[in-house]
Each structure stands twice: as C-alpha cells, then as structure tokens.
C-alpha cells in the first residue's frame, strides 16, 4: 500500500523536489492570484524545510497552478506543484501524528480503515448485546445512556488530545508565534468561504475536467464541512440538554438537536457522495498518490456515518433500530478514534496553516 523504504532512506527527497519547483515558481509568479500559497512563496527568496511544510498545508489542491503552468510535463522543468505539495502535506501529517506508524497506516489505506470499521461495529454489537439495558426510551432501549457516554467520551476526547499534540508540533515546526484575534478572523474567514478553492476570483478550481473551472468541489466540500459542524452542533446541544436541563433524548422535530442534525446529515451525505464522485474523475497524479485509497475510504466512512444516522432517525420506533444503532455508533466510534490519522486531520492542519499565514501577511 505504501512504499516505506523510499521515504525512510531518502527522507528529504520530497522536500527537495518541492523546493526545486517552488524556486521556479518564485522566478515566474504567474499563479500569484490563485491562492494563498504563491503570495507566501513570494515573500521569501530561500526556502527552509519548515517553509515548504507550511506551503504544503496551505495548499488546498485546487490544481489551478497545474493547468496554468507552461512548465508541466513533458517540459524538462516538470512542474506539478499540486502533486508534490500534496505528498509533502501527507508526509507532514504523518510526521506530526502520534503514534506515527498508525498514522501512516490509516492515511494511506482504505482497507485498513474498512477493517477498523468492522472492528468498531463488532465492538458496538457486542456492547449492545452484552449490556442490554432493562429499561429505557428510544435509542436508550437498545443501549443505555451511561454506556454510550462511557464509550464515546474517551473516544472523542483522546483523539482530540492526540490531534492537539500533533498541531502543537506543527505550530512549533513552522515557527508559529502568538495568535491574535485578527489572525483567527482571517483564517476562519478564508475557511468558512473556502477562499483557497475559489481560484482567486470565484471561478472555482480545476478538478474534475482538466482545465475547466468549476465550483463543484468547493460546494461539495462546504456541504461536508457545514454538515459536519451542524451534526456536531446537534450532538453538543443534545449533551447540554441532557446534562444542564435534565432533558434526555428522544427529541422532537423542532428541537435544536433535530433542527441541526437532520439538515446537517443530509448535507453531509450529499457532500460526501459528490466528493467521492469528483475524486473518481480527477487526475490522481495531481494529488497525494500514496493517500488515494485512504482519502476515498475516509469520504465513504464519513458518508456512512451520516447516512446511518439519518436512517436511524427515520427508523425511530421500529425494530430496525436494534441493528441500525450499533451500525451507526460503530461507524461514529471508528470515525472519532481515527480522527488524528485520517484525512480528517487535514482540516485542523489547514486551519493552523491559515493562522500561520495570517501572521505573515501585511
């Protein structure tokens, strides 16, 4: 699935290759208007390894700079900036992730992801069977609230802690300093509108049909991101209602958890399906080749989490819940536990890179 020997024996080759290309770009500058990466490159004349790692995480793989480049293969300069930055980016996530070998496994292998998923299902089925509650309403008839919390609290908090440690490593490495409010505003503003997939002028990116600009990927990505945040908001509001207001689930259609969760889940399902479709059409050579199956696995996992959640909602009160609940929760468990080691990590690194970039802008 991945070629470790190449990476370990020549740890600096990808960085060196990226540097070679970046120096050509710095002498050319034609792509300056596409994204944040080029202005960042053009603020400098020489490029340390940390600079290149930062550029790689700033790059959103919109591919505009590939199709606009007069030096792509078969030209001897052989430019493919989206490709090499994607590889450096993946490498950097693995380097900062803990434990490293685990990261390499899941980033790269959809099969490993699927295997973990099956394990997640099995664990949840076992828990549901072995610890079936005597009483309870709604989902809690299948699995008690206490058990769910006992499983999911650590499954959520531990990966978050691991991610935090990774990000701290990244931040130190790229020389990040104190974060100001204006930096946060800048970074969140760009992420909220996916400015770096806009092609600089709103025409979008070059993903699914060579040099044709389109906003399909940007929109699909936003559907996933906002859908995810809404679902997260649904869970958070449910937790608050449970503990603060002593108001346990199930909730009605016009409650906050449902108002956020249902549209959020639909957005997620649609977004994931579209992302997967676009990915199949895109040229693999312009992305991180070593991560293709891991990326696809992640998109499908996220799609499955949201789809099973929606089905669960639709099946409320029927016998299907007993099957659907462990399926959904197993997927959620896998998703959370592997968060620091899957494509999910990219969102956090990207935000860190945008924050770091904000400090350098004038």
């Amino acid at each position: 699935m991945f070629d470790q020997s190449q990476m370990d024996s020549k740890p600096s080759t990808r960085i060196d290759e990226a540097r070679r290309q970046i120096e050509i770009c710095n002498a050319c500058r034609y792509c300056e208007g596409y994204c944040s990466v080029f202005p960042a490159i053009m603020r400098q004349r020489s490029f340390a390894e940390a600079d290149i790692t930062q550029f790689a995480n700033l790059c959103h793989n919109c591919r505009g700079c590939y199709y606009a480049c007069q030096y792509t293969e078969p030209h001897e300069f052989d430019l493919n900036l989206p490709g090499i930055l994607a590889e450096v980016r993946t490498e950097s996530w693995e380097r900062f992730a803990w434990p490293g070998p685990l990261a390499r496994l899941f980033q790269r292998s959809g099969t490993a992801l699927a295997l973990a998923l099956v394990l997640g299902f099995a664990a949840l089925f076992w828990a549901a069977q072995a610890l079936r509650p005597e009483s309870g309403e709604g989902f809690y008839a299948v699995m008690s609230h206490g058990l769910m919390v006992a499983i999911f609290m650590p499954a959520f908090l531990l990966p978050l802690a691991a991610l935090f440690a990774s990000l701290r490593g990244y931040w130190r490495h790229v020389g990040g300093g104190q974060i100001r409010l204006s930096h946060i505003r800048h970074a969140l503003g760009r992420a909220a509108r996916m400015k770096d997939l806009s092609g600089g002028q709103g025409q979008g990116c070059n993903f699914e049909d060579e040099d044709r600009f389109s906003n399909a990927r940007r929109m699909a990505h936003q559907a996933v991101m906002w859908g995810f945040l809404m679902c997260f908001g649904a869970t958070a509001s449910g937790t608050i209602m449970h503990y603060v207001f002593n108001w346990p689930a199930p909730y009605g259609v016009f409650s906050l958890p449902k108002l956020l969760g249902v549209p959020g889940g639909i957005l997620l399902v649609l977004g994931c399906a579209e992302l997967a479709r676009l990915k199949l059409k895109a040229d693999p050579d312009l992305g991180a080749k070593q991560m293709r199956s891991g990326e696809m696995g992640f998109v499908l996992l996220l799609g499955f989490v949201s789809l099973s959640g929606l089905l669960l909602y639709a099946a409320a009160g029927t016998g299907a819940v007993a099957v659907l609940l462990p399926l959904h929760l197993g997927a959620v468990l896998t998703f959370f536990l592997l968060m620091p080691y899957t494509k999910m990590a990219h969102g956090f690194f990207r935000l860190a890179a945008l924050l770091r970039d904000a400090a350098d802008r004038k």
Binding site: I24, A27, E32, T72
Partner: protein, 459 residues
C-alpha cells in the same frame, strides 16, 4: 475531421484563437491546425503574462488612464520611428475595446504581479499567465464548434494568382489536403528554426537560446514568401534579450530572465568588460543585451555581483555560481582567474562614493573607466561573490507578411483574395524594430479578431 470547413486557421496561439473564435461566432465552420501536441499548444502565447492596453479611464484591473497618444509615443520611442502609424494606432485603439472582449471569452485578469509595478498602469496581467488564457480560449472555441487538430503542421499553402487554392498538412502520420474558401495564417515567426536563424544572422546563431516554442519554424511564412507574397520586416533581425546561459535550448520562458546586470560587472569570456551595465533602468535596457552578448566571442558573457546586491533583483530560476574570492569564482565560471581579478580591481578602483539607489538612476558613475558604468557603480568587494552566465535568448523574429488594415495578406499584385494573417507572423507590419512589453498580445488579439471577422465576411 471536418471535411469542408469554411475557414482554416493555421496556428494555435493567441492570434489563431482570436481569429477562430470571431469567425465561429459569425457562424462559420472553422478548423484550426496546430503543429504542436496538446501539452505544448499555444505557441509563445502560453509564455506571456500581460497585454498592453490603452484605457481612457479605469478599465478592469487597470487604474488611471493610458491614452492613445501616450501609448503611441511609447511605441515610437522603442521602434525609433520605424512603425506604421496607421496600423499601430489601430492596434492601440483596438486594445481598449479588446479587453472586455477577452473577459467575455473566458480570460481573467489580475493586478500586476509583484515585482512588476512599473507595468501596473499600462499592462493588464492574465490570471495564471498566458497558458491560462490559451486554455480559456480553447474551451470557448470548442464550445463554439471550432475543431482543433493537434500535431497538424501545415507544410504548404498553394497560391494560384491572387487566391489560395489548397492547404497541405500532415496529421496522424498522413498527408492531408483541404481547399477551404478562406485561410487565416497565425503561425508566428521562424525563431524555432536554427538553420534559418544561422542563414539570417550568421554562425553565431548556433549559440542562441530560443525563449519560446520550438514549433514556430516559419515553414508557412517561407513557403508563401517563396510564392511571391510580400514580406515586411528585416529578415536578418530578431528580438533577443540576455538570459541565463543555463536555460534550456527552447521554451525556457520567463523564468530564465536575469535582472542582475545593472548591479553587476559584465565580462566576456576573455574577462573583459564590453558595455556600460548601468546605462538605464533594466526594463529599458534588457532588450539590447541580447545583441550585445551575441556580438561577444562564443556568444556568452558573465554577470558578477557581490553579496551586497544579491537580493536587489527578482530571483532567477538557477542558483548563481558562488565563491568566496574572485579568482575562485573565475575558476568555477571557466574564466582566467588573474584576468578577472584585474578587471574587477580596475572597476573597483574607478568607483566613487555616493548614495546608491537600486530603483532609480542614481548617478553613481565610474571615473576614468572604459566603458564607463554610469549608474549603480559600487565596488565588488563583499564575499561571497556570485556569477551568472548570460546568453542571447531569442523572443521573436521580425520578418513577416505585409498586411493591410483588414489583416489581408498582400500578394504580388495587390491583396490575396482569401488570405489573412494575424499575430507575430505579421507584426513586422507594425513593429519595424524594438519591442514594447505587452504589445505582442495586443497585435495578436486585435488583428486576430480583424482577420477572423474579414475571413468570415468573405465566405
């Protein structure tokens, strides 16, 4: 393949695309024959970054005004009066009207790139550069039904009296012939053909580097001139600038330029200085250095700076040769160490104190030195020392078709009834000598559109 196109357009760069799009919008069936394979489509146009655009007020990314007279005067300055005023003014006026046309056909503009502030008022930059422009035009053309054949070089265009009767080309390993009612030629100059360059310029041309596409070989140009079509422009001249001597033979493009000359001492392979490096600001002088270097032995020169000047110019694509002493640097550059040391010492001794200003003419002039350096003359003293080799890099050739104001090609007795030309291949009709940054794309766009319109009207 389209068997009976109304119009055959020869070439696949900016001028060809503008002509093809215009003709297709007039409802004509257009076939484009591009010699290059798809990844190299777009000729020299894919290396460009901007076009020079007249504007009577703020226009798109351009601020202020740049009116017809100022534009024309800028042109007169570089061509030293060798320009056809009527056609030049048509191109200038046409540029203002072309800018929105370009946007409407998919081209995106951006404010001038960092490091090119001097062009921000006069030149509109393409977002992503010339290849992005070319890509957008291909999309637009194909959506309009234009058919494009790649790897389809035209080998012969048959002129019978005052009409074109046949177009011969190869494609997919086979020869083909078509007899379209109208033909537009937009296949650039002949700088890709080194043998022709040697014939025109002399054996020195063997050592020239070609900044753009190898596919502009002038085959159609020489073929038609051989049949009596009228030419214009000095056949022995080409536009050449000094570029990094390590650049590829072809297609090195923009990144091989070197902007260090004004801050340096330039010597030939014998270690002698040969020209005033500080005559004027670089954008006004870079074009003469191509021929200066071409006149030196082996068509090579070396630009030498010290660490004081390292960051004063745009970074170049190849790292400089670096050394801690001048003799060591000479050794690495293949120069006589003693000779280079003497040249640098003599130069250093001729430098005078004063205030150095990298971005303006600072009058920091050498004393009693031949040739003098009349600006930015600072001694080369602070290691490490850096050296770049320089070679002439050819941008385009001047020889072309003589056209009238409708872009129609002129034959032996008046216009050829069904033949039009646009872009570099007729630019000699407007630019007798010299070059004004961004004017190549202006000529191609304005006359490409005229050629497309006229050809469409004819059929």
């Amino acid at each position: 393949m389209m068997s009976n196109p109304d119009i055959v357009v020869v070439g696949g760069g900016n001028a060809a695309l503008c002509a093809a799009i215009t003709a297709a919008e007039a409802g004509k069936r257009v076939l484009m024959l591009e010699a290059a394979p798809k990844p190299y489509r777009g000729g020299n146009s894919r290396h460009t970054r901007n076009f020079r655009c007249m504007h009577d007020g703020p226009l798109s990314v351009l601020t202020g005004t740049y009116d017809e007279d100022e534009y024309y005067n800028d042109l007169l300055l570089v061509t030293k009066g060798k320009t056809d005023e009527h056609l030049a003014r048509m191109a200038i006026r046409g540029s203002q009207e072309s800018q929105p046309w370009m946007e409407a056909h998919g081209v995106r503009f951006q404010p001038s790139l960092s490091g090119t502030l001097s062009l921000s008022r006069t030149n509109a930059f393409f977002l992503g550069g010339g290849k992005a422009l070319v890509n957008a035009y291909y999309r637009t053309a194909e959506a309009l039904g234009v058919e494009v054949l790649y790897e389809a070089p035209v080998t012969h265009i048959e002129l019978d009296g005052d009409r074109i009767t046949r177009v011969d080309f190869t494609h997919g390993g086979e020869r083909h012939s078509l007899s379209p009612p109208a033909v537009v030629v937009a296949s650039g100059g002949f700088q890709g053909n080194i043998e022709r360059l040697v014939e025109a310029w002399g054996p020195e041309a063997e050592n020239f580097l070609i900044r753009g596409t190898p596919y502009n070989r002038g085959d159609v140009l020489f073929d038609l001139l051989g049949q009596g079509v009228q030419s214009i422009g000095d056949p022995t001249q080409c536009h050449a600038v000094a570029i990094d001597g390590r650049a590829p033979k072809f297609d090195g493009g923009i990144v091989t330029r070197l902007d260090c000359v004004p801050f340096s001492v330039v010597v030939n392979k014998n270690g002698d200085r040969f020209y005033n490096e500080g005559e004027d600001v670089w954008p006004k002088r870079y074009a003469i250095w191509g021929r200066l270097v071409a006149a030196e032995p082996d068509q090579v020169a070396f630009s030498i700076i010290d660490s004081k000047s390292k960051d004063l110019f745009m970074p170049s694509v190849f790292p400089p040769v670096t050394a801690d002493t001048i003799p060591e640097l000479a050794g690495k550059l293949g120069l006589d160490p003693q000779k280079l040391s003497e040249t640098i010492e003599t130069f250093n001794g001729a430098c005078r104190p004063g205030t150095f200003h990298p971005t303006e003419l600072d009058g920091l002039v050498t004393e009693d030195l031949t040739p003098p350096k009349t600006n930015w003359a600072r001694p080369i003293t602070e290691p490490p020392f850096y050296g770049y080799s320089l070679r002439p890099g050819v941008t385009f050739t001047y020889l072309g078709f003589k056209v009238d104001e409708t872009a129609q090609v002129q034959g032996t007795k008046g216009p050829v009834e069904n033949l039009w030309a646009a872009g570099e291949t007729m630019a000699g009709s407007i630019l007798g000598q010299g070059y004004l940054a961004g004017f190549g794309m202006t000529i191609g766009t304005v006359f490409g559109r005229i050629a497309g319109r006229e050809a469409a009207q004819y059929v």
